[in-house]
Amino acid sequence: MSSVTVDRLYKKYGKVEAVKEVSFVVEEGEFTVLLGPSGCGKTTTLRCIAGLEIPNGGTIKFDDEDVTNLSPAARNIAFVFQLYALYPHLSVYDNIAFPLRAEKLAKEEVKKQTEEVLKLLQIEDVQNMKPRKLTSGQKQRVALGRAIVRRPRVFLLDEPLSNIDAKLREMTRAELKRLQKTIGATTLYVTHDQVEAMTMADKIVVMNFGDIQQIGTPYEVYHYPANLFVARFIGSPGMNFISGKIITELGKVLIELPGQLKAGLSVKQQDALSQSNQSRDVVLGVRPEDVKVFPQEETLYPAEVYVFEPLGVQNIVTLKIADTLIKATLPGDVFLQIGEKVSVSFREIRIFDKQSEKLIA
């Protein structure tokens, strides 16, 4: 397996810039996810790495080798579109041996390499079965087995789970993550689904409008989103946003919110904002699990229940605070009525600049 280095990759179609000087690295053995909404340039980036598109600028390296102008076949990559596309009339063994036989390898060599893969993926005991007899997890192993038997340098996956139902997707996700680590495959995975990205990735590259918005671990992009776009895109239910202004009162930096409410900041956040202009326009971001709901109490923010949605494991309440709607997650055994008056406080908050939309504290 190799590492992948993408350096100032640029691709346009006519006048449309699909990818604007994008740079990132996929380390050897790492699971990197390219995440973004449709049209953000993620698939174009992947196709450039696969050699299916020729970029207008920038370079792509596998380890130290520049592959930017190599044909797809010469790159030795495995491009997986759908994890379940197996040959139905062939046994598990023959499905995996297929690419080797296509390359006209000696019989002995085919046998040796196929058996290695069967063993690695723990599917030796089903090697004589046809795909329709297999469980979904086994099918997935076979599909991966067929891809790795050629010993590709990199795995490229383009929304491989998008066409399967929710239950199966959840199972497949975990299996795939486990397998990726077992075989130590350098993997670049494209998706628009933030849950897939969060659950599987070692590293997430968030893209929008052909640009990288943030590169980070799932923890970093969730807890320290670089800007409002990332904050909005990651997490469900999404982060709440309330417009405010920076003010200083009795030596403390605070955020003034609509309805004469004020939000306190951590010492670190106060330091970060202490040089800011007074009345600077900001956006306060708070995740639904960091909105704490209490019976009515004077020292906290007053709020009214706008909608209550029980989800079993947890309940989601939409609250109206000074004309802004925000969501809070509650334990599954706490129930509220529409119209009920409650009080609210915030645990962790993030502050974004209103103009640049960047995280500032």
Binding site: A166, K167, E170, R173, A174, K177, R178, K181, V195, M198, T199, M200, P218, Y219, Y222, H223, R232, I234, G235, S236, P237, G238, R287, P288, E289, Y306, V307, E309, P310, L311, G312, V313, I316, T318, K327, T329, G332, I338
Partner: protein
């Protein structure tokens, strides 16, 4: 707004029975959700009520009036389709107003009503635009507004949020629920999505293969699923299911020979009374298992196989010999893949299913 009831509703297409002797009630001013997988018979049921399909047997009543023989236009129901279509040459205002125009309502009243629903669905600023200039989520809100602008006896909603992307879907669902609450409309809402069902429903009717499987509040459906099908269908990540054997003293042997768990007395009694055989399936939701580094009297040990962070919580997959168990844990943990860990099941939260009938016993 009114009460809708279906009695023994049966609809066949050739030899295929889409809906079989369906009995259900849609309560006045409430949201009743029809939840089931694809091809469960949801859409057929709604189409029979709207008069778009003619059932072979059964009765449909609205407010005590049998409507089977009424033409669709006289049934006074509104239908919101999954694949909504707007008039492309009309503005948003004209689209919403169209059901009122054909009913000879005064211009002032039309304007008042259109503005009222547009405001509730946050599309007031779009009224002068043509559909091609608004987003998919906005189009669906217009389609919903067009249904809501009238005051029909029942609203039939057929997967109204299915074609929307995740964020807009969440938002629209919240607005729809608020709107129903404000107007006191009667909703009959079909969806294959269990999250939609739990969050919007006052009552949920679960159907599969044309039959009603369970009727209950979201709480009942989630905490007291009638059988394995419901238990597996509702909840994400899904409930864990493990084979086990029940002993008269309330001890269950999971695996077998992997774990011995003592059931609470109430569950033991129910099992003694109602089990058809000693073979059972136990079900436990991922949030009802707790992890710890320390071994306790009731804990078991397993290997951490996969960790899936979701931000506010994470899903941990454990491996214990040949079985795999999903655990949901809040916050961030220090766990590492392949390390050993101890876990405990909350005994009160263990569901016992009869292996033969697949029904929930305790």
């Amino acid at each position: 707004m009114s009460n809708l009831s279906l009695i023994n509703l049966t609809k066949k297409y050739g030899r295929v029975t889409a809906v079989s002797r369906l009995n259900l009630e849609v309560e006045n001013r409430k949201v009743t959700v029809l939840l089931g997988p694809t091809a469960a018979g949801k859409t057929t049921t709604l189409r029979c009520i709207a008069g778009l399909e003619k059932p072979q047997a059964g009765d449909i009543f609205i407010d005590g009036e049998r409507i089977n023989d009424l033409p669709p236009k006289d049934r006074d129901v509104a239908f919101v389709f999954q694949n909504f279509s707007l008039y492309p040459r009309y503005t948003v205002f004209e689209n919403i107003a169209s059901p009122l125009r054909i009913r000879n309502i005064s211009k002032d009243d039309i304007e008042k009503n259109v503005k009222r629903v547009a405001h509730m669905l946050h599309i007031d600023h779009l009224l002068e635009r043509k559909p091609i200039f608004i987003s998919g989520g906005e189009m669906q809100r217009v389609a919903i507004a067009r249904a809501l602008v009238r005051n029909p006896r029942v609203f039939l909603l057929d997967e109204p949020l299915t074609n929307l992307d995740a964020k807009i879907r969440e938002e629209t669902r919240t607005e729809l629920k608020r709107l129903q609450n404000e107007t006191g409309a009667t909703f009959f809402y079909a969806t294959p999505d269990q999250i939609d069902a739990l969050s919007i429903g006052d009552r949920i009717v679960i159907i599969n293969e044309g039959h009603v499987i369970q009727v209950g509040s979201p709480y009942e459906i989630y905490h007291q699923p009638a059988n394995l099908f419901v238990a597996d269908f509702v909840g994400s990540p899904a409930m864990n299911f493990l084979p086990a054997v029940f002993s008269e003293n309330g001890m269950i042997d999971v695996g077998p020979n992997l774990m011995k768990i003592q059931l609470p007395i109430e569950k033991t009694q129910l099992c003694r009374q109602y089990l058809s055989a000693r073979e059972i399936i136990i079900g436990i939701r991922p949030e009802d298992i707790t992890l710890s580094q320390e071994k306790t009297a009731t804990s078991f040990s397993a290997q951490v196989e996969v960790i899936e962070p979701l931000g506010m919580s994470q899903i941990i997959r454990l491996k214990m010999n040949s079985i795999s168990i999903r655990v949901r844990s809040e916050g961030i943990s220090e766990l590492t893949v392949d390390s050993s860990i101890h876990f405990t099941m909350k005994e009160k939260k263990i569901h016992i299913f009869d292996k033969n009938s697949e029904k929930r016993i305790a």
